[in-house]
């Protein structure tokens, strides 16, 4: 399965980032492109996203968004709903279904 992630990493234009997705967006995770954010190194952000189920192949849906700056967002990841900010959601690369 990991070749999908590698392909995305070398060719980021092939996927959208979840941070820019509109409400109601449905897609599948193609890869993670973590970066340093909120004082966390890229590797740590990646691990936190993984721990909350943002793994290649998982289905996501953008369910809700906040009032101010459409932030934060609530993402359905398979059987769980995770709240996070668009800034960090940008590390999740998705393709629409």
């Amino acid at each position: 399965m990991s070749f999908i992630a590698d392909a995305v990493l070398t060719e980021p234009s092939a996927a959208l980032d979840l941070g820019a997705a509109p409400r109601g967006f449905r897609g599948r995770i193609r890869g993670l492109r973590a970066f340093a954010s909120g004082g966390l190194p890229a590797e740590e952000l990646e691990r936190r996203l993984l721990e909350l189920g943002f793994v290649e192949g998982a289905e996501v849906e953008l369910l809700h968004q906040g009032l101010f700056g459409r932030d934060p967002i609530a993402i359905r990841v398979d059987s769980a709903t995770i709240a996070l900010r668009r800034r960090e959601a940008a590390a999740v690369l998705v393709e629409p279904i």
Binding site: G38, G39, L40, E43, E51, G53, V55, H64, A83, R85
Partner: protein, 633 residues
């Protein structure tokens, strides 16, 4: 079975699982009220331990570990979970069995944790919790296949139903105690986590059939409760209702307690002479002990109503939604979205609030939350607010018609809470700028659990624990302070033929006189000065101290309401300044000591004491001077 197991030592079991997996409900069902809450040695992580006897006659000691997504501990809470699991926690013997609780309706993240735990090599049992909800929702789990694929025993549980733990208990009875020893484990890197989650997903695909829909109730509720505009409005309404309820619902119970203590006081007062050596004893029992304890205990109903709301919202699953709705607002003030839950708990008491900041991983964000948590109006301030509002704010509706259901007193109370909230946000903004020069806040990431109907049993247990904690406080710290206050305000006794009120011969009078010049600019008299000092030890004591100071001063007014006594003696400006003082009043000794423990030093404790004292003085000063300028002095 019984004979065989009678000679064995207690079985040690630890519950581990994701947040929101129903672990605590399972713990409550298994142990009932046989549980103790203490701290792990050296850290302030709450250690919840309980015991029960299994159907097979085994005594079991059950440990409820803090919820975690991974053993890769990031917060103090998660460090404890990891160390207990690995048998490395000081003072905790390695468990004989780890029961990994997984939410059957949301197995994915739980399954990854199970795989991670399996690598640690400890004896492991999987409990698929909320199995009834899963079945109701059409989720089919092939338990035998899951057990085979995991290579672990798997049972299904329904924590909230009688008989829902039978399979788990049977599995526990089958478990033999294992030897000591540490487990080998190293934190997985991103590739390791990915591999684990992929394996979990593979297993899931093989054993679980999920109908392609989310929980319909949660979906419908979230459409409203997480609506960008309606959600915020509803959150405000919920908070407002909470404070109205604190006033309205608690009143009958409060009247009852009040009447009880007055009757007790009158009875004791009637048994002892007013003059001579017996007079001192009478004064101690009547004015010190009974009046003091009574004036604090009377607020138990309000504190319970407040905790009832907080527990209800938490069990219902609304707290995480509130954090979601408030994230941007909190973020604007430099706080982490997760700070919302600790801050909301601080409405009950700053101590659990400060302790629950452990869910915030970053030390800086945690510190900012700890510093402002005491600004949230804790329940210990309710007695003070209630007293002053009751005495100075008329009990009438705000307006006619549509507004007739909103009481003016409730509105003022709401305003005081709002002042606390706004100042907490403001101060964290200032701290962020001054202390940390705008370094970024850690990412906000939080699971929003499905809504669940709160269970009576869990609520009752939670309320009972809170009530116990409050009563213990009232019985120890507060009581001893009351005795000291009584002593200071009753000794020395006035000489024979004294013409002044008795208190003017006491130590309290001298202390009050000494601090009075400092307090004059903020409109406080010497009686307030006397009450403020013990009020720093525990806020609600200020009310009891005022009661003691005024009751001792005018013995014939013993039975009159303290509020009436104050209304006759204080100007409105003084009353308002007193309220303003208490919005910011430096926290109680217990809170200060928790801050010291949580921040690992005295520095931040003194810092928060100092800044709150300065704010309190400033707020009272401004309020008093403005009120006087407006002609209510």
């Amino acid at each position: 079975m019984n004979e065989m197991s009678a000679g064995l030592r207690d079985l040690r079991i630890a519950l581990v699982g994701n947040p929101n997996c129903g672990k605590t409900a399972l713990f409550n069902t298994l142990t009932g009220s046989r549980q103790r809450v203490a701290n792990y040695p050296g850290v302030t992580v709450e250690r919840k331990e309980g015991s029960f006897v299994s159907p097979g006659g085994r005594r079991v000691r059950l440990l409820d570990l803090p919820g975690t997504y991974s053993l890769r501990a990031r917060s103090p809470d998660e460090v404890v979970t990891r160390d207990v699991v690995l048998g490395q926690q000081a003072g905790v013997a390695p468990p004989d069995l780890l029961v990994c609780v997984a939410d059957a309706t949301n197995l994915r993240l739980g399954l990854r944790l199970i795989l991670e735990l399996k690598q640690a090599g400890r004896p492991l049992l999987v409990a698929l919790n909320m199995f009834d909800i899963a079945r109701h929702r059409g989720i089919e789990v092939d338990v035998e296949r899951l057990s085979a694929l995991l290579g672990l025993p798997v049972v299904t549980t329904v924590a909230v139903r009688r008989g829902g733990t039978e399979a788990l208990l049977a599995a526990i009875d089958a478990q033999a105690p294992v030897g000591e020893g540490e487990a080998a484990w190293s934190a997985p890197d991103a590739a390791g986590l990915r591999a684990l989650q992929r394996e979990a997903d593979r297993i899931l695909a093989a054993v679980v059939r999920v109908p392609d829909r989310r929980d319909a109730v949660t979906r419908r509720l979230d459409a409203v409760l997480l609506h960008p505009v309606a959600g915020l409005v509803i959150l405000l309404v919920v908070l407002f209702l909470m404070f109205q309820a604190v006033f309205a619902w608690a009143q009958p119970a409060m009247d009852l307690i009040d009447a009880g203590f007055q009757a007790l006081g009158a009875m004791v007062g009637g048994l002892l002479p007013e003059e001579g050596p017996g007079g001192l004893l009478r004064s101690f029992l009547h004015d010190g002990l009974i009046a003091g304890v009574g004036s604090v205990l009377v607020f138990l109903p309000q504190i319970l109503v407040l905790f009832l709301f907080i527990l209800l919202l938490e069990d219902f699953g609304y707290m995480a939604r509130a954090a979601f709705l408030m994230d941007r607002i909190m973020g604007g003030a430099g706080l982490h979205g997760r700070a919302f839950i600790p801050l909301l708990s601080s409405f009950a008491c700053a101590i659990p609030g400060i302790m629950s900041t452990r869910v915030i991983d970053s030390r800086r964000d945690r510190l900012a939350t700890i510093l402002v948590a005491p600004l949230m109006t804790c329940s210990a301030r309710i007695p003070v607010y209630t007293l002053i509002i009751g005495a100075f704010v008329p009990d009438r509706p705000v307006g006619e018609g549509a507004w007739s259901w909103v009481g003016l007193q409730g509105l003022v109370m709401f305003g005081l809470y709002a002042a606390g909230i706004l100042s907490a946000l403001g101060m964290s903004f200032v701290f962020k700028r001054l202390l940390w020069r705008g370094q970024p806040t850690e990412p906000f990431m939080l699971e929003l659990p499905d809504y669940k109907l709160p269970r009576l049993r869990n609520l009752a247990l939670g309320l009972w624990q809170r009530a116990k904690a409050f009563l213990r406080r009232a019985g120890t710290i507060i009581l001893s302070i009351m005795v000291v206050i009584w002593f200071l305000s009753s000794v020395p006794r006035p000489p024979e033929g004294a013409t002044q009120p008795a208190i003017e011969y006491s130590f309290a009078y001298s202390i009050g006189q000494a601090v009075e010049p400092l307090l004059r600019p903020i409109g406080f008299n010497w009686q307030i000065g006397v009450a403020l000092i013990p009020g720093m030890a525990a806020r609600e004591v200020a009310v009891a101290s005022l009661g003691t100071v005024y009751a001792v001063q005018d013995a014939e007014e013993d039975t009159a309401q303290l509020g009436q006594a104050l209304a006759g003696r204080w100007s409105l400006a003084t009353a308002l300044a007193f309220l303003a003082w208490y919005v910011f009043a430096p926290q109680c000794v217990a809170t200060l000591s928790v801050i010291r423990r949580e921040t690992g030093g005295q520095r931040w404790m003194w810092f928060s004491f100092g800044y709150m004292l300065a704010l309190a003085y400033l707020a009272a000063f401004v309020t008093y001077q403005v009120a006087r300028a407006l002609g209510v002095g």
